[in-house]
Amino acid sequence: MNLTSRQGRPGPRRLIAVGTASALALVLAGCGPSIGAGGTASKSVLAVPTDKSPRGTITIWDRPGDLYKVFDATIKEFNKKYPNIKVKHQAVNIDAKLQNTLITGTGVPDGVFLDDAKVGGYSKYLWNLRDVLKPYKADIAPQKIDVNTVKGGIYGVPFDLDPGLLFYNQTALKNAGINASAITSYDKLIAAAKKYQQFKPGSKPIHLEQSPFLGQLQLEMYASQLGTSLADNNGKLQLNSPEYTRILTWLDSVQKQGLGTRAEYLSPSDVGALDARNEVFVPWAIWFTFAPQQQLKATQGEWRAMPLPAWQAGGARSGAMGGSSFVLPKNGKNSQLAWLFYEFLMYNKAGYSAVYGPNEVYPGGLNTSIPAYQPAANPKRPLFQPIESMGGQDVWATATAAGKQIPGGAPIPSWWAGAVPYLGNNIQKMLDGQLTPRQVIDQSSKDIQSNLIARQ
């Protein structure tokens, strides 16, 4: 630095000038770390492993928590088949770490657990799994193939299918003289809610999600039921459609008629309303089963699950809400071995039984989702047990049957999560009475188009 040399003795002003000039020069000369590093692998389709006795070490990232423990326990099974593949299993804050790790290309894992909604956004860094998945593709739930597909390539190993179900408080409905099994359409759900409200004044029977993110996720469940999603295969926005108009109008009418409990999913407010039997219908993904098992107290044992109502006569009785897959970064060292790991877990009986069946973490099995692999999701061969705190209901049978009804043809655009400040917020504004369904569609379409699609 000039600053330390005694010869030049420039005044402060000149120093600033020199500093600015040299800074500018550095910028023009392109100083700074190189842009464009990381993920430079030229091939993009993962080749089918041919090694007869594969060996090596793979690094696998999972979310910390119970799911990590479930997968951790499966490694033992995996090593029975592949004794020479060592699995380094890490619990990682994936949202905080994955992007940075991929950008720097340092310490890149071989396999990562990822929300379906995020797969598209990372696809440039990931192996196209088209070839390795070929033998299984026909047996995987179409919805799960769609969500992992970007421009014809498949970028995730589908893990779980999360069918939407109608959770209802059986005891409360029985007391009110309502027959749940007769709720076959969304209009009938409104009628049942009105009837319940007459029986229990002050109650607001239907759950209306207040978190913008989960509200948008639930909107996609309804849309998935109608076989549509926010964007088509070419990434074209298709929010402005009769399907979305219909769903938003229905949500709006539930709110306008005072039939909805607006709360963030399982926040204390939500739990309170559920436990007070003021909220008795929850159209939600299968993972709501965790509420009666862990969070509800007064109404534990009263909850049951059934297929969602249909939007039209003969329409699908379920739609997908959420779900996760495994992705394999191109910069991973042993991607083929990681594929073998996921192939075993998802498509080998010993593997998927270890994941979903009874284990140390979940003595009754993992019952918050079902396998995306159809042969594993056999209604007659349950992997997880009937759920005690849901009156011993065989949720496996209900969920797998519902899962089969989920229509395909609903890809998730890479900008899905980025749409929450627009669409997710606008849904809430509609429920607040500030926007009409039409305005939600128009305004969100405009914002998504200019802020997300145009800036990709």
Binding site: L3, P12, G65, D66, T106, G107, L214, E264, S267, Q294
Partner: protein, 297 residues
């Protein structure tokens, strides 16, 4: 250095009015500290409840139902012990650098005239104003070029000569009488010798205060460590905590929301305790350090 021969309290004339005012002041302070402590107390006590009870009855505390379940689970499943170790190593290295180099720079700014001083001091102030997140991505790429991702260098060096510390030390050292320095110079002391043998001993309380503050900052820093530490070995305590927290901040969709909340509260309590103990133990030095920052000249 004037000592505090006349404490502020000595100004109080006696009388019932003053006494009533004192009671009022104490009541006000007790109420306020109650508000400040209650949330943390809630977290500490809740850590002893079963996970399901934390979620179901957040405001009910039944000592007979207390359990160590959350703590045992944290110790078993979460690399918290190695988190403590990594944090301790970073504390020693990074804290050591700040505590040595910041007073040194503060000394230069307080007691020397040199060309470019205002420019360099401007740099100190700019550093103080630079939001951390602004630098995250470029710094990360720089670390990659250096091959420092997931190393102690990366955890320690950026931000190691803290700008706030320099600023504060400049204040503290300004108060050291110039006569002391001149006398040392006459005795043939070198410039560094003046810093080491004259200035440092005088400002020792100030450095102690800075020490406590530096420890707190480094201990609770998590934005940069989360980005740069990949392996469990390099995960500081706050990285471990934020990894735990990712399942529950945002969306309550994990099936293990309750268990993780319990683990998180237990882990946070474990993380809080050493800092609290340290602060209580060093409280006198810390406050003395603050006094040192304002010696009347």
């Amino acid at each position: 250095m004037t000592t505090l021969a006349t404490s502020p309290a000595a100004r109080l004339p006696r009388g019932p009015r003053r006494r009533r005012a004192r009671i009022l002041r104490n009541a006000f302070l007790l109420l306020l500290t109650g508000l400040f402590l209650a949330p943390v107390g809630w977290a500490l006590l809740s850590a002893f409840k079963t996970p399901v009870d934390i979620i179901r009855d957040p405001l009910v505390f039944d000592p007979t139902g207390f359990t160590l379940e959350n703590f045992l689970r944290v110790l078993r499943d979460v690399p918290i012990a190695s988190g403590f170790l990594t944090t301790a190593i970073v504390l020693v290295l990074k804290g050591g650098m700040t505590l040595f180099f910041a007073p040194l720079a503060g000394f230069a700014f307080a007691k020397y005239e040199f060309r470019g001083k205002s420019v360099i001091f401007g740099a100190v102030l700019v550093t103080l104003m630079l939001p951390t997140i602004v630098l995250i991505i470029p710094l990360l790429l720089e670390m990659k070029e250096l091959g420092w991702v997931d190393t102690y260098q990366a955890l320690v060096l950026p931000g190691s000569v803290d700008a706030f510390a320099i600023f504060w030390m400049r204040q503290v050292i300004s108060a050291v009488p110039d006569e002391l320095l001149d006398a040392a110079r006459v005795d043939g002391c070198s410039e560094f010798g003046i810093f080491w043998r004259v200035v440092l001993p005088v400002i020792r309380p100030g450095v102690a205060g800075l020490g406590v503050l530096t420890i707190m900052n480094i201990y609770n820093d998590f934005v940069w460590p989360v980005v740069i530490a990949n392996s469990d070995r390099m995960a500081t305590l706050q990285v471990v905590l934020s990894t735990l927290a990712q399942n529950i901040t945002g969306n309550r969709i994990g099936a293990d929301y309750a268990t993780v909340t319990g683990e998180l509260l237990a882990a946070s309590s474990l993380a809080l305790v050493p800092l609290l103990v340290l602060f209580i133990a060093l409280q006198k030095q810390f406050i003395a350090g603050i006094l040192a920052g304002s010696v009347k000249g």
